[in-house]
Assembly symmetry: C3
Homo-oligomer: 201 residues x 3
């Protein structure tokens, strides 16, 4: 129940983030739908293909398509308000990231893949939709920009795995989602980033 | 029988469209083969991976590889004529689009996926090969340009689904393929496009 | 035994090649890991997805992740030396190419796919990791540059298939790997390339 609601929330948040990026790029209505769709469902699709769960998740539950459609309608109607509130894209993106990291890990771990691989599946579920969005919009993938991004997903998923035997799963899931969201917000607010060789050399 | 001939025609048309794009980009012979190959078989490959039909279709029937090879040879020999006739690329592309939309829908629908998902599989089969072609040739994907493109595939596939219980499948398939081709030709001739926010705001 | 050692060597070589490209692009530590990872494991991942062997190879054997990690650490420590020796990137890339072509062919051929398809799987295993590396680093894919590249993989894999009934597999594998490496080195040294239409017209 919780898992499904969270998955729906993450899908909706990522679809809005994609639709906003497409509107910003002045794409037509079809372009907005496509970008919203790949942003919201691209990460889970790659995860399902890698672990061999096909037809992939959203093909077996029509709700996901309707969620993406509704997110596009909502974004379209409230676009002025959302664009004015410049951080909207970022907040929705961060929410999607947090939810998909943990749910992606759980899905892979349930298939008895090893913990490092399941953690990687969590990160891929979270970041890959955004990578396709950025490639299609011809942007440098956000994932390679300087703030902590996939690293937040990675840290949160590792924490989730580490505490998995000690806390009830529902509580832990909510906690680690909040953790990723917080790390992401703080890292953008204070422009935290991983060291590069340019910093050192 | 009809399905197979149409599939071969679509593959051949898309391979020519890809080879022409690669010649236009001054790629070497290997580049021509690669672009023809991904244009012709990329969409069906993604569809088969998403629905879990692996090894994907063209791997089990060697004809597809030979079709792509022959299309490259034909395009290479008649390149002057084909390039002079500037609309060649567009016409072959439109034919591939029309055929793959309907066949992709049928393949997914036969696996008892829901109609909206099967329609989406039709559109993906049709447009995805061209998207990879454009990304590899470093062009803005044709799918995002202003004329009606994927929308033609979508409309034709929806029509196909709507009339499926009322007409014999062979007749209907030919009709909806012709419909998509016509929509595409008219939309390019008269520069029809979907509304964008730029039009409104 | 030999297959596994070669696979490890190819993975390590490709991971170093990817890490060097990422350092050259001034990506942060996370970017280095991602590029090393997709370069080393991207080709085999696509091959496994196309033939329907999921979860894909590296997900079932944690060694591959550790190999990529170690390659990143080694590249990071010796980066000055490796970058100074300008040809390092090229040599590691060529080694990965050679090994993955032959191993990719063998894996597909063992599944009783036809020889042309298995040869293609060999070439895809070899070149696709580098294609993703180049797309993510925003470079024109090396595969489309003028020197003999995928053609070397193709020639070597065809040779491997042609001699497969006449030589012991271990000897043949080593020979054809050496052949691909040699063709690649010679073609770069003497700037050999496939004919293009620009040469002729």
């Amino acid at each position: 129940m919780l898992i499904i609601s969270l998955d729906y929330i993450g899908t909706f948040a990522f679809a809005i983030s994609g639709a906003l990026a497409a509107i910003d790029k002045k794409l037509d209505l079809f372009g907005i739908l496509v970008i919203a769709f790949v942003t919201a469902l691209g990460g889970g699709t790659l995860r399902d293909i890698l672990i061999g769960q096909q037809p992939v998740g959203w093909m077996l539950n029509i709700d996901y398509l309707y969620l993406v459609l509704s997110a596009c309608v909502v974004t379209y109607i409230y676009r002025a308000r959302l664009m004015a509130w410049r951080k909207a894209l970022f907040v929705f993106d961060a929410a999607g990231l947090a939810v998909f990291s943990i749910l992606g890990f759980e899905k892979a771990f349930d298939l008895s893949l090893s913990a490092p691989v399941a953690i990687l599946m969590g990160v891929i579920s979270a970041v890959f939709g955004g990578v396709i969005r950025d490639i299609l919009c011809n942007e440098i993938p956000l994932i390679f920009r300087r703030e902590i991004y996939a690293t937040a997903c990675f840290a949160g998923t590792v924490l989730h795995f580490a505490l998995r035997d000690y806390l009830p799963l529902t509580l832990l899931t909510l906690m680690t989602i909040l953790f990723i969201l917080t790390v992401r917000v703080i890292s953008v607010k204070y422009s935290l980033h991983l060291p590069t060789l340019a910093d050192r050399d």
